[in-house]
């Protein structure tokens, strides 16, 4: 059994993932390329080559889509690094047969890596429909490597591709046939001759080495620098470069080679491809006439988004309620199993509700992700970016930022994850930083509680709407500020392919959604588990046994059930005041006093870091109403109205609107932003903004 590692490389939207699925039905292994949040999909399978009668253990690594081997995007950096490494045996270059010229440009670059290459002419079914005929024998001849026609959707050409892989692997006499203009070929020949004369020993071909030297490839220079041959080689290269410059009218060697590759790709296409008709091509054009129409485009998009969010939060709400009930009953059951003691309380009051809160979001996340995956794989996302870029660009964002931001109104956790669709690092970070300004669903209970307490019934709706709009507005302003002071620098130029509309395979969509959901459960789940234990501990300890016993006696001797409940609530309140959490509240109070918060509000803000729903339940406990409070609880509203001044309440709403979303979201943020330091920045940024805004609002309301 021989092991064979294959790097699957190609430009974006050429159907690499579908091809992997067609090649093997084995389970895909998803991980990350080391150090970056770029998905690394791997598939391993056994295959018996009938021609050589030997078994192979093939493992295919799907590299991220790259337009060229450059450092332009993270994906391209990753792909380039991997192609230049020794972690694989052979490259399979997937090429979109309907877009040959641009794809062959990348092929030319791959051929010069010096590795073995097999070209898969994918999407042949589409090419047939478009009347594109490709002579793959001739193309193989021109490129110097085997080209195989494949179609992932019709599963054709797959076995041929596998045989070609094995054949290429066993064939050592491989040479790239990328041809250059005569004046460059001459210089290559000079250097190759020199190597021959010196009988220089090297494991890559003289030609490839000569080309790399002429291209001023820094890795090659580093490597050759230590060789004795270097002294004689250097003047030769210098002379050759001078000659090339004279012929090319330019000293930009990178550009000179790009132009060469372009000429080669165009030439290869011209020779090997023939178009007989232009029928099916207009399908994408017809759709685009409507979808990116100046006037219809944006309303249609908003309608699609509205539909998706309706689905997410209405359809998603059904299992959410069931999950919620399920966890509540588990919480109750675990208390009866483990008793009312510390263990029962830890499980019933800490772990189960905490973890339940995470799992509760799962249905929403799955529905939303299916929608987003569809938007992406059909090619619509690029149109969205096209339509909205004008507006968002002014705030330092990208057209695609819209989707994570709107998702943020539902829940920040999926919003952070959706921000992955932004390829530019800076734009993605700005988007990540302002997602929290979009008030998520979990903040709604806090708003409902306060708005209900302080505003009349008829105004409540408008006030709520105002809160959401104000949040979004702060977010855009914050983006602008971040863009101006933190993530400075020239805007990245915006050049984006508008891929053809294609129907994605359901298996692929499901796979994407499944792996995202799994990673959400794993990451957020483990951290939330730890955090809920921590919050539980901080609010329950240290215990004052004497005080508890004293109250228990009083409760037992109480005259009526009402007094009993009152005493119980009083005990809870005192216990919480004396707990670590309560003490923290007193420590925090001076910090929050300028905003008009008392220690109870300060504690609620603190526990709100775990999750926003906790703000309401904490206030419920602190204002002595027992633990089972909801935002519509009339009693709590009355209490709050009595105890909290109007100005403080408004200032509190503003603070909740802006500060850090929740623990689960923070953890996902760290993962997506790529570093813990960003969480620290986010914490400082949101807390400072929240404090300043609350302070201003508080003072303004006091004056009014």
């Amino acid at each position: 059994m021989q092991k064979l590692t294959i790097a699957l490389a190609g430009q974006p939207n050429v159907g690499k993932s579908s091809l992997i699925n067609a090649i093997s039905s084995s389970r895909l292994k998803v991980g990350n390329f080391s150090g970056v949040t770029v998905d690394k999909t791997e598939v391993a399978f056994k295959w018996c080559d009938e021609a050589s009668c030997s078994d192979y253990e093939m493992s295919i690594i799907d590299l991220p889509g790259a337009y060229s081997l450059s450092d332009y995007t993270i994906e391209e950096k990753v792909a380039k690094k991997f192609i230049q490494s020794d972690e694989y045996d052979l490259i399979v270059n997937v090429v979109d047969a309907t877009n040959l010229q641009r794809n062959l440009l990348f092929t030319a670059e791959l051929l010069e890596s010096g590795k073995k290459v097999v070209v898969a002419l994918n999407m042949m079914d589409e090419a047939d429909k478009e009347g594109i005929k490709i002579d793959e024998k001739l193309l193989s001849e021109i490129l110097g490597v085997t080209c195989i026609k494949t179609s992932a959707s019709e599963k054709s050409g797959i076995d041929e591709l596998k045989s070609a892989i094995v054949a290429a692997y066993k064939n050592d006499g491989y040479t790239s046939k990328v041809k250059y203009s005569d004046h460059i070929e001459e210089e290559i020949a000079k250097i190759v001759d020199f190597f021959k004369e010196k009988k220089y020993k090297k494991d890559i071909s003289y030609r490839i080495l000569a080309i790399k030297l002429l291209k001023e490839d820094s890795e090659t220079y580093k490597m050759m620098h230590d060789e004795p041959i270097w002294i004689e080689l250097l003047p030769l290269i210098r002379a050759s470069l001078e000659h090339i410059y004279i012929h090319s009218d330019s000293k930009d060697i990178e550009q000179i080679f790009r132009d060469e590759h372009f000429a080669f790709a165009k030439g290869a296409k011209m020779e090997a491809m023939e178009i007989s008709s232009m029928r099916a091509k207009n399908f994408t054009q017809k759709i685009d006439n409507i979808l990116i129409n100046k006037f219809l485009g944006i309303p249609l998009f908003l309608f699609f988004m509205w539909g998706l969010f309706q689905l997410t939060f209405t359809l998603g709400a059904i299992p959410v309620d069931m999950i919620d009930e399920f966890f509540t009953s588990i919480g109750v059951a675990s208390k009866s199993v483990f008793g009312e003691g510390a263990l029962g309380s830890l499980i019933g009051d800490g772990i189960v509700p905490g973890v339940g809160a995470v799992i509760m979001f799962l249905p929403n996340i799955i529905i939303l992700f299916i929608g987003i995956a569809l938007l992406e794989t059909t090619g619509y996302m690029s149109r969205v970016a096209f339509l909205l870029d004008g507006f968002f660009h002014r705030f330092g964002l990208h057209g695609k930022s819209f989707i994570p931001l709107v998702t943020g109104f539902g829940c920040s956790v999926p919003a952070y994850m959706v921000a992955r669709t932004l390829k530019n690092e800076r734009e993605r970070l700005i988007t990540l930083f302002i997602i929290g300004f979009m008030s998520c669903g979990a903040r709604l209970p806090v708003y409902v509680l306060f708005v209900g307490a302080f505003f009349s019934q008829e105004n409540a709706g408008s006030i709520l709407f105002l809160i959401y709009i104000a949040g979004a507005f702060f977010g855009l302003v914050a983006a602008k500020v971040l863009k101006m002071f933190v993530f400075k620098g020239e805007n990245e130029p915006f050049v984006m392919e508008m891929p053809k509309y294609r129907l994605p395979s359901l298996k692929l969509v499901w796979h994407t959604v499944y792996s995202q959901a799994k990673s959400y459960l794993k990451k957020a789940g483990t951290f939330i588990l730890a955090a809920s234990m921590l919050v539980w501990f901080a609010s329950n300890y240290p215990k004052d046994e004497a005080l508890t016993n004293q109250y228990q006696v009083q409760i037992e001797h109480a005259a009526s059930p009402e007094i009993q409940i009152e005493l119980q609530n009083e005990l809870k309140k005192i216990s919480l005041e004396n707990s670590y959490l309560g003490k923290t509240g007193y420590v925090l109070e001076p910090f929050f006093r300028p905003l008009g918060f008392d220690w109870k509000m300060s504690v609620a803000i603190g526990t709100g870091l775990a999750a926003k729903e906790v703000v309401v339940s904490t206030m419920g406990v602190l204002y002595s109403l027992g633990e089972d409070v909801t935002e519509e609880d009339q009693g709590l509203m009355e209490k709050i109205k009595a105890e909290i001044p109007f100005a403080s309440a408004i200032s509190f709403i503003v603070f909740v609107m802006i500060y850090l979303p929740c623990l689960a979201a923070s953890m996902v943020f760290v993962k997506e932003a790529g570093s813990w330091k960003y969480l620290w920045y986010l914490f400082l940024f949101t807390t400072t903004t929240a404090w300043i805004m609350s302070f201003l609002v508080y003072r303004a309301v006091l004056i009014l």
């Binding site: 332009y72 877009n99 010229q101 990348f106 685009d288 392919e497």
Partner: protein, 74 residues
């Protein structure tokens, strides 16, 4: 004239690209190189972004970037 000055449906040949380095590389890997012909397909409402057809692909770019590309109408 500049690519940004084309009207919807206009066809043109690229004469000169006034860019260098990574951005020029990106343009060429998208098929936007001198001597190629392009067609303006659509632009967005505020005239901030445009879609062009080049070789077999469709590419979106901002007007800001389109101002760097000199073309000749055909």
């Amino acid at each position: 004239m500049l690519l940004s000055e084309l009207k919807k449906g206009d066809k043109a040949v690229i004469k000169k690209i006034n860019a260098s380095g990574a951005f020029k590389n990106r343009l060429s890997s998208m098929g936007i190189v001198e001597k190629e012909s392009v067609k303006l397909k659509e632009y967005s409402l505020a005239k901030s972004t445009m879609e062009i057809e080049v070789a077999e692909s469709y590419v979106a770019l901002r007007f800001k970037e389109a101002r760097l590309i000199e073309v000749e109408k055909i």
